[in-house]
Amino acid sequence: MIQLILSLLVGLVLAVSLYFFARRPKPSAEGSAQRLREARQTLDSLQDGLLPNDLVERIFAREDLEYVIAAAPPDVQSLFLADRKNVALGWVRRVRAAVLELMRFHRGHARLHARLSFSTELRLALNFAGLLTACRLLQITFYLRGPYAAPGMVRTAAAAAGRVCSISENSLAFLNVKGIDPFEGGGARHRA
């Protein structure tokens, strides 16, 4: 029975993949110096001006919640929580969009290279998948339980993000060969 299910699954996956493969539009012709410069600028803007740090701290500042609870009537409290929830959800959406944009850039640029490192590509793909999953978990958490969600729920998302973080560190060590500085560009190094 397992063999039956697995074989049918392979057939189904092949059918669905071929359907999208047949309908796939022609990719845009990239590779010119201009496109390359634009791609570099995209990456620079992602690295340097992705999201202001103080904004992130402001969105999730617990002092704000404590102040509102202490000073405001219940209807103002619920208005504050609803407002903060929308802001938090908007922030996660932006982070997720940035990850997707970075992923698009990397794939678009990597295809111009004849010799890709399979292990590096695999690590990056896993990192992207991990970050996108972490973003989704945060979105669900904020949506269901608000911006100041229960620590347990947030820790689940954070644990997934932590795993991604350690893989990133290993990957960076691998890439840090003589004459090549993967941190070139001056962005802040993340906390592992």
Partner: protein, 255 residues
């Protein structure tokens, strides 16, 4: 039913002949020699089987059919190993990766087959030909899926010829996998469906190949080849940007 299967069989021979003739005419034969050799073998074995069918008895035809089917199936695997060379061209790493995927999956199936033959005296290859064909079709599907996935992931353009070749093989392999699996599970009751749908799916694959290979249309120019150091810088910078985004995530509350 018999008339229909005969019509389908002769249509198949006709289309195979058209593809081969057109391949010689437009000089595609030399460019995709592996595929055309495969098709030529299929045509020759099909004609041979048609002749044998009218001369010898059914008990002889059955085992002969499966033996020749396995030979053409093995050649089909060769075509699939050859496809990445045309699809990925200058993308050496992707080409090697997909070719290795194909070689390893086919190798695993043939190794399992050899082990069965060598160590299981009661196991007869012809008696289990349908099972072997299903396994080989699955083995064909895996490299095809990896080609489809990688071209989609990296946005690599595929020419009309190769797109058609992949689609044709994919359609036939997909239908064969599903029908062989159901056939092995359901048994003889499934035979009428098998006898109609499998030849029709092969006609569909041949039709796709006819259209796709009518003229020589490879993918557009190969990508430029930046240096290896450029790639490592790109990967490093992507990784760094990921770290920067990660840092934003780390700042969420209650950590």
């Amino acid at each position: 039913m018999e008339i229909l299967s005969q019509v389908v069989a002769y249509s198949g021979l006709l289309i195979e002949g058209v593809i081969l003739a057109r391949g010689i005419q437009n000089k595609n034969f030399a460019k995709y020699s592996m595929f055309y050799s495969y098709l030529l073998t299929v045509l020759v074995t099909s004609v041979f089987l048609q002749i044998v069918r009218h001369i010898v008895s059914t008990p002889v035809y059955g085992p002969l059919y499966w033996r020749l089917d396995l030979v053409t199936l093995a050649l089909g695997c060769g075509v699939i190993v050859d496809i990445p060379g045309h699809v990925f061209g200058g993308h050496v790493s992707l080409k090697r990766f997909t070719q290795w995927v194909a070689i390893l999956t086919f190798g695993a199936i043939f190794l399992a087959f050899a082990i069965h033959v060598a160590f299981l005296p009661n196991w007869k290859p012809v008696a289990n030909a349908a099972e072997l064909e299903r396994d080989l079709r699955i083995a064909q599907a895996i490299p095809l899926l990896s080609i489809v996935f990688l071209t989609g992931y990296y946005g690599i353009e595929i020419g009309k010829n190769m797109k058609g070749l992949i689609l044709g093989f994919g359609v036939y392999a997909g239908v064969s996998i599903v029908l062989l699996t159901l056939g092995l599970f359901i048994g003889a009751q499934f035979s009428p469906v098998w006898k109609i749908v499998v030849p029709l799916s092969y006609i569909a694959a041949l039709s796709i190949w006819t259209v796709a290979l009518w003229s020589y249309e490879p993918a557009s120019a190969s990508p430029p080849e930046p240096t290896d150091i450029d790639y490592r810088k790109l990967a490093g910078r992507t990784q760094q940007a990921l770290g920067s985004i990660q840092e934003q995530l780390d700042r969420t509350p209650d950590r």
